[in-house]
Symmetry: C2
Subunit: 424 residues, 2 copies
């Protein structure tokens, strides 16, 4: 962990730096893979699955039997935990439903918005070292609440062509039955363009490695909407003398274990806290199966000592972390002053892992400083809002002259004429 003591304002860009994006380097490869999938469909997907995932898959679609077998294999205690988490996620996302309201902007001029589900959505769930079934809940539940008509899920198979049963169980909780054993770039291509087996979708959601991210960015340039630009996961902890060093250490490590490129930042007014946290992290690290990954992530991580709360808040809003844990005595008040963050965890008993799994908030959040302009995933992400308007003949008498005047000044005379004709 790199330690910065009382950094000056001009060092903020440096100490909040993320690993650089490399979309442009990958665009050529991604472009070739996408174009193959577009022209050859299933055959190309099959070829890339063999090449990248070392799995020989004849039929990508997970069968009903496979799903049922998976459901039977999950321990009741895990089922129970998943169901509690699902209930909380459902409660929080149902509360986000949009209620339409007709606004009469002028007499006879009625305008309103209506939220409608995005009809066809595709969820990508990474495989690799950990079976991220929690992400299935985080994407599948809001898709279900929104009422998306077609929800499909792609996830890479292991070398034997299997999907982790917990992923299949979580999908069944979200009523997702169309699941495909496809990972990486080829999954993104399959969902963006469609193939003989995989239906084309309107929007793709979900995390992934840098190739998946590059493929998502590629298709977003003209072919398919995506949830948000993604980068390695991050946590920042703001702590004062009331913070519990063991809790802080555990929270930092739980971010660090995600991957060697994870970002972990501790900002505090307490020099001794930095020392204690680092010491405890060393101990906790030894007991982790993923200690190598976490240790690697810690190398690029930072502990920053600042002079006061003002600076702590300022630096946090400048950094715009994906996750922000506030472990200070006035955590609730400080939270009020946060303007850039994906998700904020207030107080000593609110670890990031609560939001990662079970409290109800979504864990798909903007990384890499995108929290300055993007929201995390919510019900909104699975809907689009359409505006409607209805104007009466009388209403148009009021509005028509305004349209005529403005259209004339913009030199758009057909626009003007559309108004003039209706006032005759």
């Amino acid at each position: 962990m790199q330690i910065y003591r009382y950094p000056l304002l001009n060092s903020w860009p440096e100490i909040t730096k993320r690993p650089s994006a490399d979309f442009l380097e990958k665009i050529e490869t991604v472009s070739k893979v996408m174009s193959k999938i577009r022209s050859e469909g299933d055959a190309a997907i099959r070829k890339f699955t063999k090449q990248f995932d070392h799995a020989d898959i004849e039929d990508f679609k997970v069968s009903e039997t496979e799903i049922n077998e998976a459901i039977n294999r999950i321990e009741p205690s895990l089922k129970n935990a998943i169901l509690i988490a699902a209930q909380n996620i459902d409660t929080f996302h149902v509360a986000q439903k949009f209620s339409s309201r007709v606004i009469e902007t002028m007499p006879g001029v009625k305008c309103w918005q209506k939220a409608l589900p995005i009809e066809r959505v595709g969820l990508y769930i990474p495989g690799g070292s950990a079976p991220l079934f929690s992400t299935v809940l985080m994407l599948g539940i809001p898709a279900m609440i929104a009422g998306c008509h077609n929800v499909i899920l792609c996830t890479p198979p292991d070398k034997k062509g299997n999907i982790h049963p917990a992923i299949l169980y979580a999908a069944s909780v979200c009523h997702i039955t169309e699941i495909y054993k496809i990972g990486g770039m080829q999954a993104i291509g399959a969902m963006a363009y469609g193939s003989e087996t995989v239906p084309k979708v309107d929007k793709i959601f979900g995390p992934g490695n840098s190739w998946v991210t590059a493929a998502k960015q590629f298709v977003a340039n003209g072919d398919c909407a995506i949830d948000m630009p993604a980068g390695p996961s991050e946590v920042a902890v703001m702590a004062d003398e009331t913070a519990n060093p063991a809790f802080v250490a555990a929270d930092l490590l739980s971010q660090a274990e995600h991957g060697p490129d994870s970002q972990v930042i501790l900002i505090t007014t307490q020099e001794h806290l930095i020392k204690e946290v680092i010491k405890i992290m060393g101990k906790q690290l030894k007991e982790l199966p993923r200690s190598e990954i976490a240790a690697k992530a810690l190398e690029n991580s930072r502990a920053i000592l600042v002079k006061d709360v003002e600076e702590m808040i300022g630096l946090m809003n400048y950094y715009a972390p994906e996750h922000l844990i506030i472990a200070t005595k006035d955590a609730g008040e400080l939270a009020e002053r946060i303007t850039n963050a994906g998700s904020v965890f207030i107080g000593n008993y609110t670890p990031e892992s609560a939001g990662d799994y079970a409290s109800g908030t979504n864990h798909t959040l903007p990384t890499n400083g995108w929290a300055k302009s993007f929201s995390g995933i919510g019900l909104d992400s699975f809907c689009k809002k359409i505006t409607f308007q209805h104007i009466t003949k009388e209403g148009f008498r009021l509005l028509g002259p305004v349209i005529e005047e403005m259209a004339q000044a913009e030199q758009l005379f057909a626009h003007k004429n559309a108004a003039t004709l209706r006032m005759k």
Copy 2:
């Protein structure tokens, strides 16, 4: 206008085709321009302004004197029209304010969302043949309501280095004072990366030609958020025997006059309406100053005769038009069945030009079929939502075991430990 009589389902992809996107063809040029702006700042912007806009600009920033002079030059009748439109836009967008609500998903587990303004936003207003001051209102008013701290505006100067006074007046109505005489790709680069004169922003909004669009897509890949992917403007009209052919003709022409690549589609159950509309368009066209542009757009436009209302609705939702005018006897009911469109105009007295200028709805809308997954611009576009959560010690006793169980199954033991420690 191309006429299709009773097209079969398998011809829908063909008859709803848009001009193809060409981002990849432009990426090399755009990449070079962006990299120059990034490294050389104002000097590069100055060079490109000379090269592309043929204007020699020393100081990009519009002075207070220029703004005041512009305000004085605008006719009172136009000022009045702009103020009425601004009031309606304000009314409709203020009503979109998000109210935060705390949700207790489990006893002691409180979660909520809060909408916060995107702090720094950049508005791009195209110049060229028409001074689109209405777009200033459509972007500037929601930015003002959202409470964005820094709102800047870029718009290309004419060859003498001037900005149209109506653009400056509309900006003043939205309290925008930071206005730069920069157009095209160089404006997007300036706002995405910042320069000595132009501050970097977090999100760029606004329409533009295909180069502006390509530059926006380029910066969206890692450097700056953008409003939405853009394409040529479109209108579709659904009409039955109750439609007024002259109104329909005027509405189609008001889209066609936007540009030679505009898309205009008429879908109707009435064969004679197609004939009449085409005849009347011919007459109206002659009186338009932009008749050449409109005629060109009409060449690629379509009139489609369908057998019934079901097919009309089906084809519309498949096409997902930016603007949809419904001129039928049961327009209100049909509108209820629209699931893919940017903005819907219901009935004979609700022309698209009402929403383009003055009814209150936003005119920045998804084109090119993006209405399937994107909303038009609204107050949301200028905000991001942050989630917050607070868990009590008692609440954590309920939630902790769920987190432990799930983290263990995902093999993320540091996540599990963050829960275990808090339950001791």
